[in-house]
């Protein structure tokens, strides 16, 4: 039986989530922050799929399809907003308009 334990998937997912959180907190560019959010979404998706492996009714797999669609919609809307922000301010750096801490 060559079965991968569930805890391996959960650990990879935890690593991806925390790296996405680090990217989101560390970077100033808006596109970079969006990439971090996508990484966190995919970590949650990996969790759903790994738990759905032991399910007869594949509820996690069906839910991950909807998570994928919502992530893509969020990406398109956010890139359109970023484009408008670039037209308004001529840069897309977060937190550079007001005073930094």
């Amino acid at each position: 039986m060559n079965e991968i334990p569930l805890i391996y998937f959960l650990m990879v997912s935890a690593l991806l989530f925390s790296v996405g959180l680090a990217i989101m907190l560390l970077k100033r560019n808006m596109i970079f922050v969006l990439m971090g959010i996508e990484l966190m979404l995919n970590a949650a998706n990996l969790n759903l799929i790994a738990f759905s492996r032991h399910d007869d009714r594949i509820q996690g797999l069906a839910f991950s399809v909807f998570v994928l669609v919502v992530g893509v919609c969020e990406m398109t809307i956010a890139l359109a907003i970023i484009l408008q922000v670039y037209r308004q301010f001529k840069h897309i750096d977060l937190g550079s308009e007001k005073s930094r801490f």
Binding site: N2, E3, I4, P5, I7, Y8, L10, M11, V12, A14, L15, L16, F17, S18, V19, G20, L21, A22, I23, L25, L26, K27, R28, N29, I31, F32, L34, M35, E38, L39, L46, I49, S52, R53, H54, D56, R57, I58, L61, A62, V65, L68, V69, V70, V72, C73, M75, T76, I77, L79, A80, I81, L83, Q84, Y86, K90, H91, I92, D93, F101
Partner: protein
Amino acid sequence: MSPMIASFLVLTMLTSASALAMAWTKNLLHAALSMFLCMLGLAGLYVMAYADVMAVSHLLIYVGGVLILILFGIMLTQQPGKVRAEMQNDLETKQSGRFWAMSISISTFLGIIWILTRSSITWAMYSDEAQKSSKLTYLGLTLLTEYSFAFELVGVFLLVALVGSTYIAKHHE
């Protein structure tokens, strides 16, 4: 070590190394390339979890769609005529910002790992036989019978997002 575990470790190394490279680099295009590698590794991990249909759709959507969208976003939001050193991304250079980001993310990671190692005993009831067959037929039937309302709602949601993003992105003069 069984070949399944070995290939899982290789895919894990690819995914986590490219994610860490994404966090490390300051260049936005390098980050897009790292995100491509990360998505490839994630699709391999989905195959390892017997979700082949999800792996294929993930490859189609992320590598084919979202990454192209990100590259277009990068190209449309760069100032023309800048020198190469200024085209790189502005990383958080203040020490406090990097400190808080690193400490929050590392403590999140350690907290999740702590919770996982503490609660792994209670998952013994889930660890029966895994479904090893392809789930394409069953997923299609489930989406069109049990989740049909959510499926239609997602279609309407995609249409709303498409029209809304084109409306937001146009010139408002």
